[in-house]
Structure formats: structure tokens, C-alpha cells
């Protein structure tokens, strides 16, 4: 195979005649260096970051004794740790997975509210913002950006989409504020909605490109320019709080403008799915949706349409029914009743299998001399160690992928000897895509010390 040392930027300039549209193109061999380990111009291969969430934690070893631990990790530590029944879904990719146990969510040290503590603290490192109590007993906003949006803010401008938010189960709680409803937050008042329908995800990723010769293109750009002008004028008349909101509005107008201008990647398009995540007889098509969503995300990474994603498999306090396991009750209720400990355990194993599917698809997708999993860091987390205890100590956590060589390989089981801060994990992961990052989170959740145990 000949290598032309064609830089990605050269390619772009050639395509559109010198105008400066920032846009990612697929990783063609011609753009790689002779070793196939980096881009010809010396830039490293793109790296990806994914947060992957499931709600309500895992089962207890002994339902009558919460102190006896979780049905989750093995006793053995280090590389080559054995897979427990709950982790069996990692078989085939286990060398890419570090299992992290015994960590504490320092951002949640005030222990204000189950689930809110777990999900907000784990994925952002910021203590959440409690909303005033009104008719509903408890609701909160994210205290700051989640780790995926910290990454997207730094590297999202290099791709068609700064990031993408995906969900598989629709049984998400909407009554306790953005913290539980959404997995990705840019700020307390900018939470990013997840895409539930595979068809919608396909459209977002692959079917939103406007052909260069589309006559409506300049009209659409004109409209956005007029809108931006309106927003700027309105901004002069409102208070500071609204000015911040209108700044967000303006930056989103600029982002959509850029997307309308962008060229379609020269990349094999996946098939358009027909699935729209509709229930049949009240049953969610969870397995099918998970697979299609994963397939589309992997293609989006391969085509370099985005490098950052959040994946909400099930919701925080989510009521997903694992009907394919013969279950009839919502997952949240199962986890809060010790009679259903075995059902919770079965759901955990099923969840890890769904997670494993994504990892296997990434691993099976070559890029340069390796695969996409080599260039990714995937952070698996939940919102409690077990729904029954709501404990934020020892929540389930797996870091998968090699992070472009920044993460330890093969993966290890590392049990923190000192209840280290989960923000340390986030910082180590963030540095795989933003090497210059020096901190994650804020206040009691702040970390300036990346977890060295998982660093290569």
C-alpha cells in the first residue's frame, strides 16, 4: 500500500479550494506516516473519550448485610484478574479493561441525596447544585461540566460534531432535575439531551451533511446570520443571567452554521437503521437499540465525525425493565428491594454484556496499525454502589481502552488502598485526549492528581 504523506489539511484544502472550513475527514491510509502509528504531519491519531452509564448500581453479595460488599469485582488484583459472572461480558476485551474499586466520590462527600450524589459527582467531579424544594421533594442541577464536555470543549472543534449524547433505555427520570435526566452537562443550565432513536442518531451523524451545491445552503447560512444578529441585539437589553444564556445560544448558532457548511466525510456510510426505539407491548427494544447505537458510534469514530460521546445505557433511578431476562419490574425498584437481589445481579451481567459489545466493536475496527479501542478511553460508571445502599463509596467503575497508549495495558484490577477520589480517575482519562489538562472538578471534588495506577 502506497503512502502519500498527504496531510489531512492538504486534503481539505484541495477539496474546497482553499477556504478555511474546519472539518474532519476519515483516516485514510494516505494520511498516515510510514509506520501507520500517527498522521504523516506528525500529529498523533485522534483519540476518543466516552462516558458510559448505567443506573442504580449493582447487587449486594448478601442482601441482608450491606457491609459484605458487591456482586461485582474479583478479589484478585493486578493484570490478568479473573472475570466474575457479572463481568463475563468483558471476555475478549478484558486486557483493555481496568477495573477500579474502593474509590470514593469526594464531590459527593456531603451525602445529600442518593443517585444525585453518585451520577453528578462521579462524572463531573463537581458537587451538584441543589434546587429549592417546591412541590417536588428533591431536584438538582449539575454543578459543572461533565468530563465528556470538558473534553469536547477542548477537542470538539476539530470534528463535525463536538460530541454526541446517546441513550438506549427511555425509562429515564425527568422529575428530579437535569442531574438525573441527562448524562452530559456543559454547565448547570446547559444540559445536553440524549438521542434515544437509532434512526435519529444516524441522521445526526451521517445524514446531516448539506451537499456543496445545495441551493438552500446559502439561504440557511443567511438565516443563521440574521438570527445571530438578533441575539446580539437582544443581549443588550437583558440582565447578566440572560446574557450568559444568549451567549450559549450564539455559540450554538455558530456551531450549527459550521455544520451546515461542512463537507461530508469521504467515508463509507453505514446502513440507515429503521429502528426508532419504539416499545412493543410496553417492552423496550433495549438489546437491539444498544447494538445499533454502538455500531453507529463506532462508525462515527472511524469516520472522525466526533471524538467524544456519552452513552446512557439505563437512567439514574431508571425504571428499565429487563424483560429479556424474564423480569417484569423496573430496575430502580428491584435495586431497592433485597428480595430481588438476584434479578439485580442478572441485570448487571446483562448491562456489562451491552458494554462489552461496544468495546468489541471498537476493537474489531482497525485504525492505522491498531484499532479504535487502542485510541479510546471509555469510562463506565453508575450512580450508586448498590441502589439499596445509595453508597457513593466503591461505585462500579471500569476504564476501557488504551487511550492512545496513555493507559496501562493490559488492564488491571486496582483496589484503592486509600479511598482515592474518583476525580483522579477522570483526570487520568481526560489527559488521554487533552494531555495538557491539569485538573478536574471543583471544591471538595477537585483533583489535580491523575490516577497513576492506570497510566501507562
Amino acid at each position: 500500500m502506497s503512502r502519500f504523506h498527504l496531510s489531512r489539511r492538504t486534503m481539505l484544502r484541495g477539496a474546497i479550494g482553499g477556504t478555511s472550513v474546519a472539518l474532519a475527514l476519515p483516516m485514510l491510509d494516505a494520511m498516515l506516516n510510514s509506520n501507520g502509528t500517527a498522521l504523516a504531519a506528525g500529529e498523533p491519531l485522534p483519540r476518543r473519550l466516552v462516558t458510559w452509564f448505567f443506573g442504580n448500581g449493582v447487587a449486594l453479595v448478601d442482601a441482608t448485610n450491606p457491609g459484605a460488599g458487591l456482586r461485582w469485582g474479583p478479589a484478585e488484583q493486578g493484570p490478568g484478574y479473573p472475570l466474575t459472572p457479572q463481568l463475563a461480558g468483558l471476555a475478549g476485551v478484558e486486557e483493555y479493561c481496568s477495573l477500579l474499586t474502593g474509590f470514593d466520590i469526594k464531590a459527593a462527600a456531603m451525602h445529600r441525596r442518593g443517585h444525585h450524589d453518585g451520577v453528578a459527582g462521579f462524572f463531573s467531579g463537581h458537587p451538584f447544585i441543589e434546587l429549592p424544594h417546591a412541590d417536588n421533594s428533591y431536584s438538582s442541577k449539575s454543578g459543572g461540566p461533565t468530563i465528556d464536555q470538558v473534553a469536547a470543549d477542548a477537542i470538539g472543534g476539530q470534528t463535525f460534531l463536538p460530541s454526541v449524547q446517546i441513550a438506549a433505555s427511555k425509562r429515564v427520570i425527568t422529575s428530579e432535575g437535569p442531574t438525573l435526566q441527562f448524562l452530559s452537562h456543559k454547565s448547570p443550565d446547559v444540559s445536553l439531551p440524549q438521542i434515544f432513536s437509532p434512526l435519529d442518531l444516524y441522521t445526526k451523524l451521517f445524514d446531516s451533511f448539506v451537499p456543496q451545491d445545495d441551493p438552500t445552503k446559502p439561504l440557511r447560512l443567511n438565516a443563521l446570520d440574521a438570527v445571530a444578529e438578533d441575539v446580539k441585539r437582544l443581549k443588550l437589553r437583558v440582565g447578566k443571567a440572560d446574557q450568559i444564556r444568549l451567549d450559549a445560544h450564539l455559540s450554538s448558532v455558530a456551531q450549527i452554521r459550521k455544520q451546515i457548511e461542512a463537507l461530508a466525510p469521504e467515508c463509507m456510510q453505514p446502513m440507515q437503521p429503521v429502528n426508532t426505539n419504539e416499545d412493543t407491548d410496553g417492552k423496550e427494544p433495549l438489546d437491539e437499540v444498544n447494538q445499533i447505537m454502538c455500531d453507529l458510534l463506532v462508525e462515527a469514530f472511524r469516520c472522525d465525525i466526533t471524538r467524544v460521546a456519552s452513552f446512557q445505557y439505563t437512567g439514574s433511578v431508571g425504571y428499565t425493565v429487563f424483560h429479556m431476562l424474564g423480569q417484569t419490574l423496573g430496575h430502580h425498584d428491584l435495586t431497592h428491594d433485597t428480595n430481588y437481589n438476584d434479578s439485580v445481579d442478572a441485570a448487571t451481567a446483562h448491562t456489562i454484556e451491552a458494554f462489552g459489545y461496544l468495546l468489541k466493536r471498537l476493537k474489531a475496527t482497525p485504525e492505522a496499525d491498531g484499532n479504535l479501542l487502542d485510541q479510546s478511553c471509555i469510562i463506565l460508571g453508575s450512580d450508586a454502589s448498590s441502589g439499596y445502599t445509595h453508597d457513593v463509596f466503591n461505585q462500579p467503575c471500569i476504564i476501557a481502552g488504551r487511550g492512545g497508549g496513555a493507559l496501562k495495558h493490559p488492564g488491571i484490577h486496582y483496589e484503592s488502598p486509600s479511598q482515592e477520589n474518583t476525580s483522579d480517575i477522570l483526570l487520568a482519562c481526560l489527559q488521554t485526549v487533552v494531555p495538557e489538562a491539569t485538573q478536574v472538578g471543583s471544591d471538595i471534588g477537585l483533583s489535580t492528581t491523575p490516577l497513576s495506577a492506570i497510566q501507562a
Binding site: Q165, V253, N339
Partner: protein
């Protein structure tokens, strides 16, 4: 503009306000010092404040003066904010402006809620890439659909285009349609800019209509369409006070009362200053509440307040409740909203009747669920009014299946959840979560035959403080199972459902509970608070309590008729006045 008589009367506060103070103290506040002070329950009808957990005005600021009539503190409204149109506002506005087909093509982003209200989130959240993307696509789809209705477009043009370069005709459209879609006249600069948008498109595509279409989809993406722009201005007669302008009021009024954009007639009235005084606003509101849209709008609001939006997705154990299905759940919602609509509009009577009305509206499956007919097929999906026998203990929304199902577990009832709903949604008294170190699982086993037995542990510390406020309410409803079916016996035990709610009285069953609640000032004050939160897009702050207290009195004087409350609310400073943007 002249604002007349904001403080019509002063009146002595009833004893209920004092009771409320003590309720808060009875519940716990914090465990292990881990729970911060804000998470304790806050007492009173205006319990939630944006900035602190202070007691309410009616219950609290100046209780020592209760004998002489509480002097309202200075009225000081919350800073005004931009408010995104709710999805239904967007959709209805497009329908009214461009027709049903265009509305069907609209795809605004899904609303989110804060503090239980989409309107509150709409005044706080910022747009995302995904939202702007959706608005862009929606605007283009709407415009394309609108162009298929040449009669309507010709009506908006007011001229015969001579060709793509007919800028005057584009300007005519921009001026006419712009005013309707932005709910205010355009400045000449805006007319210039939007005429240029239309001309650019028309000239580029060699087609006049393409310019109209481009103008439509640009207008629909503008912040002047997407936000209810509420900035207000100092009252010329009293520069210390800030009110919405007449034209801003037209928008606030229409979206609140009718869930849609103001008509051309209302805009014309507003442009001539016709909504400057409370009396003028009141007169317009009295007409609006008679429109069919007012009924739909109140139904949308009550579906939100009573948490009925997502009732179809409730998880119920099919072995315990084989009758339950998403279709039945949707019918449950319809039943509750039918009662709200009947009391508020058809009967136009004391709105508190929604709490204990001895009748309901049901279809076949619901009538059978209640034992009103033996076979659901007898009625099928025909809806019919039924009188409810007193011995059924049913009556009002708390005896309806929607509430009884939503506030229950998958395979059992939950007296605590039912009591919590009554305290929070109907009385506006927030209940704190359990202390973090408490295991909330109830005991099980053959020796526990009833919920009353399983909940006995709630009578000891640290549970008793809060649970004594919730559990008795639910235990008095134990004759209704987890989907609202009547049962006299549970596990062989004849249920004892006689209960006492401290400060309210004794009751047995849903109808008697409803009657206790209808006489409770907290309940009617909570109706006012919830309506205010939805109407203004924020939780009341202390400075707004005086106006709300006056509204409580006006509601009482009106015999608690909802239509009157709607009118009183919009004619109140609570709705007319705003704080300076911050």
C-alpha cells in the same frame, strides 16, 4: 400607564398559617450534620424561595402582628428573565400563524422541567447545539409546508409580487408577518434586514416565493420568536415600579391563559396601550378564559401539577395488577383532567370540588375497575358521568385511579408516597428525603399483613417527624390498592382506614380526605402558588408574598372559582409587575 389599587385590603391571617410553622419543626432537618439546612422541609404555602428556605410571608415574616392584620411587606418582584416558548406554545403559535399542516411539521425540542414546572426551566436553561439544530430544521419544515397554502400566504403579503426583485412586496410581508410572529411591530432596521433576507433568497433562486419562505424560516429561528421577551420598563407614573409593557403583556397573557401566541386583535389593542392597566388586562382576560383554548391550557397545566404526563410508563407488576396497561393509564389521566375541566369550566363552580366531587367521568375499563359496571365492554371507550356512592369512599381526584396508581409501588400501595404527594403537590409543603444513613426498606413476611403493620417502624425516631405528616394520609386510603381498585380486606385482615391528620381532622377514605383538604387554606394557597409559578416561570420569592396573599383572598372572595382566579392572577401585580433584569 396607571396601575390602580394593588393593595385592596388587609386581612387577619387565619390560624392555619400558624399551624404551618409548627409542621416544619416537626420534621427532621439533617442527619449526622451531613444534610445541609436547606434540605429540611420548609413550611407554608410559599415554602420554596429561590434564595433561601425562609418561612412564608403568610406564615412567617411578621407573625406577631397577626391580631391586627398583617401589613404586607414591600412588594418586590423577582428579576425578570427571558422565557423560552414551551413546545406546545411553539406548536400552537405555528398553528395559529400558518395553519394545521405547518404545525404538524414543527419539531421543537422537548421541554424539560425544574421544580416541577416546564415554565420554570424555560426561564433558566440555555439552548444547546441540539436545540438550535432542531429549531433550524423545524423552521424550514414549517416554512415549506406553509408555502403550500397560497391563500394564506397571499393574505399575509398584502400585495401582488411583480417578480423576484419586488422588494416592496417582500417588505410588506416582512412587516405584516414579522409583527405577528414576533408579537410586536418590527423596527425599520429589522424590516430592512429581513427584507434583505427575503430578497437574497428570491434573487438567488429567481423566485419571489423563495424569499417569503426564507423570511418565514428565519423569523421562526429568531430569539424574538423563540423567547417570550419580557424586559419591562419603569412605570412612567411611578419610576420605582417596573411593569411589563402593554405589548409584552399581550404575549404573557396569551401564552399563560391560552397556550398560544396573541391574536392580531390583541396585538393591535396592546400596541395602542390597551393592556397598560390592571382593569384593561382583567377585561381581556375575562374574554380569554371563555375561549376553548383556556380549557386546554388549564388541562395541560394540571397534567403537569398532578404529575400525569408520563403515567403510561408506570411499571406495575402484571401478576398483581393484570388490569393495568398503558391504555388504561392514559384513560386514568383523562378521567382526572375531565373532572378538573368540569369543575373549572362546565360547572364553573368552587374549584375545591376537584378534591371531593361525588361523581366522575370514566370509560368502560375504568368504570369496571371501580365496580360501577360489571363488564368493561358494557361501555367500551364511551365516556360517561357516574355518581359515586358514599360507601365507595371515592370522590375527587384522590379517589381516582391516576393518583392511586402513580403514588404506589409496582406491586403494593405506598401510603407514604400518597401522603407525600398530598403534602407536596396539593399543599406545597416540601418533604425532605430520608436521612442518608437510613435503610428505607419496609419489613416483610407473613406476620406483616397490612401496610399499617409494615409502616409501624415509621412511628419511631428518626422517621416519625416527617412520616407522621405523610403516612396517616396514605393509610386512610388503604381501601384502594396500587391501581385504585377498592378492597375491604388485605391478606385476610379487614382494613382499618380511620385516620387523623393533625391540624386537619379525622377522615376515612378519599372523599372524606378531600373534604378535609378543601377546607384547608394550605390547599387553596397551594393552588394559587402553583398557578403563579407556571404563569411567571419562577418560584415565588419573599418580595412577592404580599401580592400572593392578596390573591389568596381574592380566590376566597370569588368562591374559589378557577376562572376567577385566572383573571385575578393576571390582573395582580404578581403577574403585571417584574423586577429589574439582573
Amino acid at each position: 400607564m396607571e396601575i390602580t389599587s394593588f393593595w385592596p385590603r388587609r386581612r387577619t391571617l387565619g390560624p392555619a398559617a400558624l399551624v404551618l410553622l409548627t409542621l416544619g419543626g416537626a420534621c427532621y432537618s439533617g442527619a449526622d450534620g451531613n444534610t445541609d439546612s436547606n434540605s429540611g422541609p420548609t413550611a407554608g404555602p410559599a415554602s420554596a424561595t429561590a434564595d433561601d428556605g425562609a418561612p412564608t410571608t403568610s406564615a412567617g415574616d411578621d407573625t406577631s402582628s397577626d391580631d391586627t392584620g398583617a401589613t404586607p411587606a414591600e412588594f418586590d418582584p423577582a428579576p425578570v428573565r427571558l422565557r423560552l416558548l414551551l413546545a406546545r406554545h411553539y406548536q400552537n403559535a405555528v398553528r395559529d400563524l400558518l395553519g394545521e399542516a405547518a404545525a404538524a411539521a414543527a419539531t421543537p425540542p422537548v421541554d424539560t422541567a425544574l421544580n416541577g414546572f416546564e415554565a420554570i426551566a424555560a426561564a433558566q436553561v440555555a439552548l444547546t447545539d441540539a436545540a438550535v439544530d432542531l429549531y433550524e430544521k423545524s423552521a424550514r419544515a414549517v416554512a415549506a409546508e406553509a408555502m403550500k397554502d397560497p391563500v394564506r400566504i397571499a393574505g399575509l403579503l398584502g400585495c401582488q409580487p411583480t417578480g423576484p426583485d419586488d422588494a416592496a412586496c417582500h417588505r410588506s410581508f416582512v412587516t405584516t408577518f414579522g409583527r405577528l410572529v414576533w408579537r410586536r411591530p418590527l423596527t425599520s432596521d429589522e424590516q430592512d434586514r429581513y427584507t434583505a433576507v427575503a430578497q437574497d433568497a428570491a434573487l438567488q433562486l429567481g423566485n419571489f416565493d423563495a424569499g417569503v419562505e426564507a423570511a418565514i424560516f428565519t423569523f421562526l429561528q429568531s430569539p424574538y420568536f423563540l423567547y417570550q421577551v419580557e424586559v419591562g420598563e419603569p412605570d412612567p407614573n411611578d419610576p420605582e415600579e417596573r411593569g411589563l409593557t402593554s405589548i409584552e403583556m399581550a404575549t404573557r397573557l396569551s401564552f399563560f391563559l391560552l397556550d398560544t401566541t396573541p391574536t392580531a386583535e390583541i396585538l393591535t389593542l396592546a400596541e395602542s396601550g390597551g393592556l397598560d392597566s390592571p382593569a384593561e388586562v382583567r377585561a381581556v382576560a375575562e374574554v380569554m378564559v371563555e375561549a376553548p383554548g383556556a380549557r386546554l391550557a388549564l388541562g395541560n397545566f394540571y397534567a403537569e401539577v398532578l404529575k400525569l404526563r408520563t403515567i403510561e410508563t408506570l411499571a406495575k407488576d402484571p401478576n398483581t395488577y393484570p388490569q393495568f396497561s398503558p391504555t388504561l393509564a392514559a384513560a386514568m389521566r383523562q378521567e382526572t383532567l375531565a373532572l378538573v375541566d368540569d369543575v373549572a369550566f362546565t360547572a364553573d363552580t368552587d374549584f375545591r370540588a376537584i378534591l371531593d366531587a361525588p361523581y366522575t367521568f370514566v370509560n368502560g375499563p375504568l368504570a369496571a375497575l371501580y365496580g360501577l359496571i360489571p363488564d368493561p365492554n358494557q361501555l367500551g371507550d364511551t365516556w360517561q358521568r357516574f355518581d359515586l356512592p358514599a360507601e365507595s369512599k371515592r370522590g375527587g381526584i384522590l379517589g381516582q385511579a391516576a393518583f392511586l396508581s402513580a403514588y404506589a409501588h409496582v406491586s403494593s400501595t405506598s401510603p407514604t408516597l400518597r401522603g407525600k404527594f398530598v403534602r407536596e403537590a396539593l399543599m406545597c409543603i416540601g418533604m425532605p428525603p430520608p436521612p442518608p444513613d437510613v435503610v428505607t426498606k419496609l419489613p416483610e413476611g407473613a406476620e406483616y399483613k397490612t401496610m399499617r403493620e409494615r409502616l409501624a417502624q415509621h412511628k419511631s425516631e428518626p422517621c416519625v417527624g416527617c412520616h407522621s405528616l405523610m403516612d396517616p394520609i396514605g393509610l386512610g386510603l388503604e381501601n384502594f390498592d396500587g391501581i385504585g381498585i377498592f378492597r375491604a380486606v388485605e391478606n385476610g385482615v379487614v382494613l382499618d382506614t380511620s385516620e387523623t391528620i393533625e391540624g386537619l381532622g379525622d377522615f376515612d377514605g378519599a372523599r372524606e380526605l378531600g373534604t378535609l383538604l378543601r377546607d384547608s387554606p394550605e390547599v387553596t394557597e397551594c393552588m394559587v402558588r402553583n398557578l403563579f409559578r407556571h404563569a411567571t416561570g419562577h418560584l415565588e420569592i419573599k418580595g412577592e408574598y404580599p401580592a400572593l396573599t392578596n390573591l389568596d383572598l381574592a380566590f376566597e372572595d370569588a368562591g374559589y372559582r378557577m376562572k376567577d382566579l385566572l383573571v385575578e392572577l393576571v390582573a395582580s401585580p404578581a403577574f403585571l409587575r417584574v423586577g429589574t433584569p439582573e
